[in-house]
């Protein structure tokens, strides 16, 4: 029972991180109907930003977190302005956007290897192995901080999307981008806002992942793949679905690696992806998007 409780906390922490990234996928998909394969770059840069911040600049974790968020947001904005925007203005095929994202993610990962080498980097925080005892289980302080920050961020994003004027424009654009532009909404500006938002969340996710697991170049691609699976399981383009999918996936993974075998964990994730695509391709809460006119 104690083990089970610990596993649940762990699943919540991992699920929260997945959710931060998969909401980024869902936001961009809901507006532009394409999968941002360059999302992992913002996560990678976030995870190395906290490493640089805590080893060279400051010793305060929260200042490092803010630095990571800024780096993630700036990287995402740069990617949007240099790569995606010209293609969107030209009205290129969606597959071009997918492939260019792949190219950018290759550049990002290998730049990190060139700069930092592919060794594991420990993030020097004072959480270390600190834990508190709750209901007989030892729960690491870091996990609690992760869960708290993720919940606050997700709540913030939902309020932003559902309660503000900007959010209203974004929701309108997700129904029909072209008509929204005709109604006098500066769609390009809102696309940049979306990318900044997704990048900031990716930055936080990168910081959390690096602090929880250490920073290494392929960390982000592995984890964004998982969060991408979550957003597919929940339904592409659905924010609520992305969050639900993240917690389903993380719970499944933690339970499998806790009670069966940790080697089966990744197999479970990809198996779930294939199963969902075969049985219910639109995911739990997805809408049906068609290629046809």
């Amino acid at each position: 029972m104690v083990l089970f409780f610990q596993q649940i906390i762990n699943a919540l922490a991992i699920g929260g991180i997945y959710a931060l990234m998969s909401v980024g996928y869902a936001l961009i998909y809901s507006l532009l109907r394409f999968t941002n394969f360059a999302h992992s770059v913002a996560v990678t840069f976030g995870s190395y930003a906290i490493y640089v911040a805590l080893t060279h600049i400051t010793s305060n974790f929260y200042l490092g977190l803010i630095f990571g968020v800024l780096v993630g947001a700036v990287i995402a904005l740069i990617i949007e302005l240099t790569a995606y925007k010209p293609l969107l203005i030209k009205n290129s095929a969606r597959s071009s956007l997918t492939i260019i994202g792949l190219g950018i993610s290759t550049i990002g990962t290998n730049m990190i290897i060139l700069i930092f080498s592919s060794r594991f980097k420990v993030i020097p925080t004072d959480f270390g192995g600190k834990s508190i005892q709750l209901l007989g289980a030892y729960i690491s302080v870091l996990d609690i901080i992760i869960i708290a920050i993720c919940l606050v961020m997700l709540l913030g994003v939902f309020l932003f999307i559902n309660k503000t004027r900007t959010g209203l424009a974004i929701r309108a654009a997700s129904h029909d981008l072209d008509s929204t532009a005709l109604m006098g909404v500066d769609v390009q500006k809102f696309l940049s806002i979306i990318f900044i938002l997704a990048g900031a969340m990716a930055g936080i996710a990168g910081v959390m992942l690096a602090t929880k697991y250490q920073a290494y170049p392929s960390l982000a691609t592995t984890m964004t793949n998982k969060s991408f699976i979550s957003s597919v399981v929940g339904g592409l383009g659905s924010l609520g679905g992305a969050v639900a999918g993240s917690f389903i996936l993380s719970t499944g993974e933690v339970m499998i690696s806790g009670y069966v075998s940790s080697e089966l964990r990744d197999l479970f994730s990809y198996g779930l992806l294939i199963l969902v695509l075969l049985v219910r391709p639109y995911g739990l809460m997805g809408k049906r998007f068609d290629d046809k006119a």
């Binding site: 109907r33 394409f34 999968t35 790569a83 010209p86 293609l87 290129s92 095929a93 969606r94 597959s95 071009s96 997918t98 492939i99 260019i100 792949l102 190219g103 950018i104 993610s105 290759t106 550049i107 990002g108 990962t109 290998n110 730049m111 290897i113 060139l114 793949n225 991408f228 699976i229 597919v232 592409l236 080697e263 089966l264 990744d266 197999l267 990809y270 198996g271 992806l273 294939i274 695509l277 075969l278 391709p281 639109y282 049906r288 998007f289 068609d290 290629d291 046809k292 006119a293």
Partner: protein, 297 residues
């Protein structure tokens, strides 16, 4: 000398796989992020079949092709009916799942150390297998894309709705492209297995899958010539750039080239044209005329 012959054999093998992916991603416009997985299926099947049943390598290659095609059609059947994004995701999932399975199923695949000690090509024997197969593949593919079916596939890439209205069975042609690409990737995987004498999961990572698509995009979406040229340039590249950090620089250049090609030359280097003798003659004639005009001025 044998080293360079080895590079040649590998280039030919990857060319078969790249031609396969070119049919799916270049001609049919369906991108894939998991075709290294189908190469893995071909490789393991061929190696295991040859080892267990003690049959000639040819039979093993056919078995690998067959299984990889069947799996490809199984994955394609539900996902090709809907939006193209789901297809990309499905290929990514299947590629990654095959990679993980080949690591996990140690009794069948030998796990991370690989499957070894099966009947393989001896020395130059590989060339006598690979080169004729490659020629057959190129000729068959050439006639396939020049046929009615090839034109239908290009039509549905250009405008699915229009293709549907003139009576092309879009779903069927997507399935044909998927089957064709998986068959060629399975064949290439099998050849790779018998050439390498060892099949291990690291040969079929997602990076390999991405390399296949990247080759097609760079060569030209919808050009067999482009795919062949891309394979000739990109496959030996890692062999040439073996010094220290060249590998990272190579991948950065790959990524950068992809970004630049998509931004400034979306059709790829060779576009959707094909190399032909008459085309070359026309090109020379046009340019020589231009040069002569310049000379007169």
């Amino acid at each position: 000398m044998t080293y360079w012959l080895g590079v040649l054999v590998q280039t030919c093998i990857y060319m078969i796989a790249i031609i396969g992916v070119s049919i799916l991603s270049g001609f049919c416009g369906l991108f894939t992020l998991g075709h290294a997985g189908f190469m893995a299926i071909g490789a393991y099947t061929s190696a295991i079949v040859v080892n267990t049943f003690d049959v000639p390598i040819f039979v093993g290659l056919l078995a690998g092709m067959l299984l990889s095609t069947l799996l490809g059609l199984l994955i394609g059947a539900p996902t090709l009916r809907i939006n193209g994004d789901y297809f990309i995701i499905a290929t990514m999932g299947i590629g990654e799942a095959i990679y993980l399975l080949s690591q996990y199923l140690i009794p069948v695949t030998g796990g991370p150390y690989g499957y070894m000690d099966f009947h393989s090509f001896r020395g130059m024997e590989a060339l006598f297998y690979v080169v004729p197969i490659l020629i057959v593949v190129i000729v068959v593919t050439y006639f396939f894309i020049k046929s009615k079916h090839g034109r239908n596939i290009v039509a549905l890439r250009e405008n699915e709705m229009a293709a549907l209205t003139v009576g092309i069975n879009v779903y069927r042609y997507k399935m044909i492209s998927m089957g064709y690409s998986c068959a060629l990737c399975g064949l290439a995987g099998g050849l790779l297995a018998h050439y390498m004498t060892n099949v291990n999961p690291a040969m079929f990572t997602s990076t390999k899958s991405n390399d296949l698509v990247i080759a097609v995009v760079l060569g030209g979406r919808g050009s067999l010539t482009g795919a062949i040229i891309a394979a000739m340039i990109l496959t030996p590249l890692p062999e040439l750039l073996r010094f220290s950090s060249a590998q990272e620089w190579r991948l950065i250049m790959y990524g950068l080239t992809i970004v630049l090609v998509i931004l400034f030359r979306p059709t790829g280097l060779y576009g959707d044209r094909e190399f032909s003798i008459s085309g070359l003659a026309k090109w020379i004639k046009r340019h020589s005329q231009r040069l002569m005009k310049r000379g007169e001025n």
